[in-house]
């Protein structure tokens, strides 16, 4: 027997589960198991939210204080300038082109392809869209999903596509975009809850930017 055969035989012998068919695992009804999973996913997401929120608040405290200070100085300067000028200055508001976003979806799994709505709860100004509809379909990349998002409320019109791997710790990024969303890039993390067997609510958190 050569070394390769020997070591492979030893590894085979060290297989922790030699024959899965002899395993005694909890064979509860699949519907019961699915119900347990959906409850579990909600609990896990809630726990994650509770754990991460205080950290992000602490981390973001200093930039916010600085930003608030700068905003206060600019505000005072604008008021002072306005009081000393007969005509109020016309200030062009720059269009935000980057920033953090949170997009929440509500998808109906009882239809094919999966369809739903989305709402931009953080960063609607940066994205140029506050809500819309979506179609979720299998991506050309194995195991991934494409959410084609069509904006229906906000200054921008058009679509952008988010690609992601539908495991609860995976990342998302903008795959492609059109019309007013041309040049949109972004990425972040995805989490989801399963309120019931025919609905999934996803949360895409991350950062976006428009590149020329």
């Amino acid at each position: 027997m050569n070394y390769e055969t020997q070591v492979l035989a030893l590894i085979r012998e060290g297989n922790p589960i030699q024959d899965p068919d002899t395993l005694t695992v909890d064979q509860s009804d699949s519907a019961v198991y699915l119900a347990t999973l959906t409850t579990r996913s909600s609990e896990v997401t809630n726990l994650d939210t509770k754990q991460t929120e205080p950290t992000s608040t602490k981390r973001s405290m200093m930039p916010w204080l600085i930003a608030a200070g700068v905003a206060a100085v600019i505000g005072v300067a604008i008021i002072f300038a306005a009081q000393n000028t007969e005509e109020a200055p016309v200030v062009d508001q720059p269009t935000p082109t980057a920033g953090p976003v949170t997009i929440k979806t509500d998808i109906d799994r009882s239809v094919t392809p999966l369809q739903g709505t989305f709402e931009v709860t953080v960063g609607a100004d940066a994205l140029g869209c506050s809500s819309g509809t979506l179609v979720s379909m299998n991506s050309e990349t194995f195991g991934k999903k494409d959410n084609v998002m069509t904006c229906e409320s906000g200054p921008n019109t058009g679509t952008f596509t988010i690609i992601y791997d539908p495991t609860d710790t995976s990342r998302w990024n903008v795959l492609e975009s059109s019309d007013d969303f041309a040049g949109l890039q972004g990425e972040g993390r995805i989490s989801f809850v399963l309120p019931d067997a025919s609905t999934v609510e996803e949360t895409f958190e991350g950062d976006i930017e428009y590149t020329s």
Partner: protein, 186 residues
Amino acid sequence: MSPNEAALFASLYEEHQRHVYAYCRRRVTADIVDDVVADVYLAVWRRISDAPTADGIRPWLYRIAYLVTSNHWRGASRRRKLESKLESIGVSSGVSIPDQIIVREEVREALQILERLNSNDREIIKLSVWEELSNPEISAVLQIDENTVRQRLFRAKKRLTREYEQRLEQRLEKSAAPAAQKGGER
């Protein structure tokens, strides 16, 4: 979820649960395997519309299990680094010692060698030897083409064998040294 998808989920759960459990148990410790299996079936539920026909079902399930256990290991790796840092400053992490399977010394040594391989080599060996998958099935699980599977498997076996051979030589040297010493004393 449509009635068809519900029926498909039920069959995936009832027919393959043992194999999914075994796959996960071969890669994670017994205390967390139920949670990992639950994560796998959660992902299965989310991807139920992607499920292939009967022939490709098990590799597809293993693919999902592979992704979930890989995610788990990335998290566990971060935890181990933290625990190591805590221990270095004298703080106990409070984590229980992972369960050890009682096996004979030669097997334990072979498993240690396996664990020392890089993650790609280790996984391909496990899929081949423990899950007994064919090269096309391994190709479906790892999403690499069959030629690459063949090459990687060949290389992984070579590395495994080389390491095993070195260990045997070291053991022989160790056992020879005291004998030589005794001979010299006479």
